[in-house]
């Protein structure tokens, strides 16, 4: 579905590579977690996958087409991004934000029709935010904002959804809400997703495939339950950790034990 082939990136000609020879595949229907410490290149990799930055070398392909050959509009009709945080300069309502997701499907002077409203309202309903549609965005809580932004991405009707640390600024309750929402969207609606995250619980509980990154390179790549091992957690974060299967949920649980210096 979405594939990176030996992709590298540097922000300026005289700075080191931030993403260094990454090859990975996000298969149709998969839920991929991209894990790594701060500065490991996760967010940059997502930018390359979404085409908002062009790789210094290597190619990203959406289905079979190289991203650099597609217009922003073509990409946006098939791929949506949920940024870590959205800050608005002006006051829009939740419904207005979600309707903006219809942008790539509308002609230059075309106005949203009943079909677009139906899609937007359905996206609000799917993220449990239908009751917030006429609220102004800045009056919403962090968890509500994140869900409205996910709804806007869903209104784009994408084949692939990329999320940048979707739980980073949320409290524990909202973290579980968002995890459950993403899992439902993936399972019931078949939305293919790639998520960059620091949240080991999120990764262990909902991701099928994990990509571990450090220093811009892929350290390991595979099914979540084989990749998430104490050795890998240590290699990734310099933290000694216990990894158990939780008796109730059946998911892996990572318990950090102590910091070790490499």
């Amino acid at each position: 579905m979405l594939r990176a082939d030996d992709v590298s990136f540097r922000y300026h000609a005289d700075t080191p590579l931030v993403v260094d020879g990454v090859t990975l595949e996000v298969a149709r229907g998969d839920l991929v977690g991209i894990l790594g410490p701060n500065g490991s290149g996760k967010t940059t990799l997502l930018r390359l996958l979404s085409g908002t930055r062009a790789p210094t070398s290597g190619t990203v392909r959406l289905v079979a087409e190289p991203l650099h050959g597609l217009s922003r509009r073509d990409i946006a009709r098939r791929l949506a991004v949920v940024p870590q945080e959205v800050e608005l300069a002006f006051e829009y309502t939740a419904l207005e934000i979600v309707l903006m997701g219809r942008h790539p499907h509308l002609g230059l002077f075309q106005v949203e029709g009943p079909g677009d409203y139906a899609i937007a309202r359905e996206a609000l309903a799917a993220t449990g935010t239908a009751h917030l549609e006429s609220r102004e965005f800045h009056t919403l809580s962090g968890g509500e904002k994140q869900r409205v932004v996910i709804a806007a991405a869903l209104a784009q009707a994408p084949d692939v959804l990329l999320l940048d640390e979707p739980t980073a600024s949320l409290d524990l309750g909202y973290q579980l809400d968002i995890a459950a929402l993403l899992s439902t969207l993936n399972r019931d609606r078949g939305v293919t997703m790639a998520i960059s995250t620091h949240d080991l619980h999120l990764a262990a509980s909902i991701c099928r495939t994990l990509v571990l990154m450090r220093g811009g390179r892929v350290l390991a790549h595979g099914p979540a339950d084989t990749v998430l091992t104490p050795a890998h957690v240590r290699a990734l974060y310099d933290v000694e950790a216990d990894v158990h299967v939780h008796p109730d949920t059946g998911h892996l649980t990572v318990v950090p034990v102590r910091r070790v210096r490499a």
Binding site: T52, R73, A89, E112, Q156
Partner: protein, 333 residues
């Protein structure tokens, strides 16, 4: 309410307001005239004093007010979205300072090379604004592909103070009469005298508005940040370039016509957003119409409040706009 119905309601009501103001304003003045008589086609032109006063003496000035007010308000809306900053104005990026410097030089050097019925001062001032646009654009696009809005802001603000220093220098060297003319120009003056200057400025302004018409949905998304806008399908670089160039060009044309009339570009967009929300597809036409009505009314006050003495219109807009701006700042924090 669907967007289409909101647009019809908003454009209809603001349109009627603007039309009423534009028709009423020329009837007010030292010699009161009757609108019915002015439009009475049965009376021959030579005998119809009301029509002569309406169309020759007062309408050019009222239309100048409408054109400048509409332009500065719309340019303000576009630049606020581009810079993601509700406190930006059409003058933030140095265009008006460039225009002012051009005008100052034309006045101080007593340039007299008018063309097409337009005198040297507005021409020099438009050239000054073009120079400022080119400098700011070059600075903001030299760092990377596309425009850096941070550099845009910094370059604009710096250019503003640099040009202001040059303006003061020109005024310092000028003699007393020229110096008075330059100061008077900086206060804004809508008395364009005839339809000629209006016709000269209109093509630039219409071109800019044609570009504005393609931008509103992109502007909505740009206010959420470059990356979000790009991921929703906006060609961010192109949208920014079009927005900056068209808004600056329109501002340059408006300022050469009537001087740097302040506060329209910030007061009107904010008032309109309070009334119609933040969707640029509604805000842009509403601000255009409301800006026209607002400046015509301010100019009406300017020429009647101390009659027969005329107060420069820039003083009226600043007296109304300044406190309003401060109220907005307090309200926002």
């Amino acid at each position: 309410m669907s967007l289409r119905r909101r647009l019809v309601t908003v454009v209809g009501s603001f349109g009627i307001l603007t039309l009423a103001v534009v028709l009423w304003a020329p009837t007010v003045g030292s010699t009161p005239i009757s609108l019915a008589r002015a439009f009475d086609a049965a009376l021959p032109w030579a005998d119809n004093v009301d029509a002569q006063i309406f169309f020759v003496a007062r309408l050019p000035r009222v239309l100048a007010g409408a054109l400048i007010g509409a332009t500065l308000a719309a340019a303000g809306v576009v630049l606020q979205a581009l810079l993601r900053n509700p406190l930006a104005t059409p003058f933030t990026l140095g265009v008006s300072a460039g225009a002012a410097l051009g005008a100052m030089l034309a006045i101080a050097w007593r340039l007299d090379v008018g063309a097409l019925g337009v005198s040297s001062v507005p021409i020099a001032s438009f050239l000054g604004s073009l120079a400022a646009i080119l400098i700011v654009y070059w600075l903001a696009s030299s760092q990377r592909r596309g425009l850096s809005t941070n550099v845009l802001l910094l370059a604009g603000v710096t250019l503003n103070s640099f040009f202001s220093a040059l303006i003061l220098f020109v005024q310092y060297l000028a003699d007393f009469a020229e110096s008075f003319r330059t100061v008077r120009w900086l206060m804004g003056d809508l008395d364009v005298g005839s339809y000629g200057p209006l016709l000269a400025a209109t093509p630039f302004i219409i071109t800019a508005f044609a570009v504005f018409a393609t931008l509103p949905r992109a502007l909505n998304l740009l206010t959420m940040g470059d990356d979000v806008a790009a991921s929703r399908g906006v060609d961010v670089v192109r949208a920014q370039q079009w927005a900056f160039v068209s808004a600056s060009l329109a501002t340059g044309a408006a300022v050469s016509l009537g001087g740097p009339v302040g506060f329209i570009g910030i007061v009107v967009p904010h008032l309109v957003r309070l009334m119609v929300g933040a969707d640029h597809r509604v805000v842009l036409p509403a601000a255009t119409l409301f800006g026209a009505a607002f400046l015509v009314l301010c100019d009406l006050l300017a020429r009647t409040v101390m009659a027969p003495v005329e107060v420069p219109v820039g003083i009226i807009t600043a007296l109304i706009g300044g406190p309003f701006f401060l109220w907005l700042l307090v309200r926002q924090s």
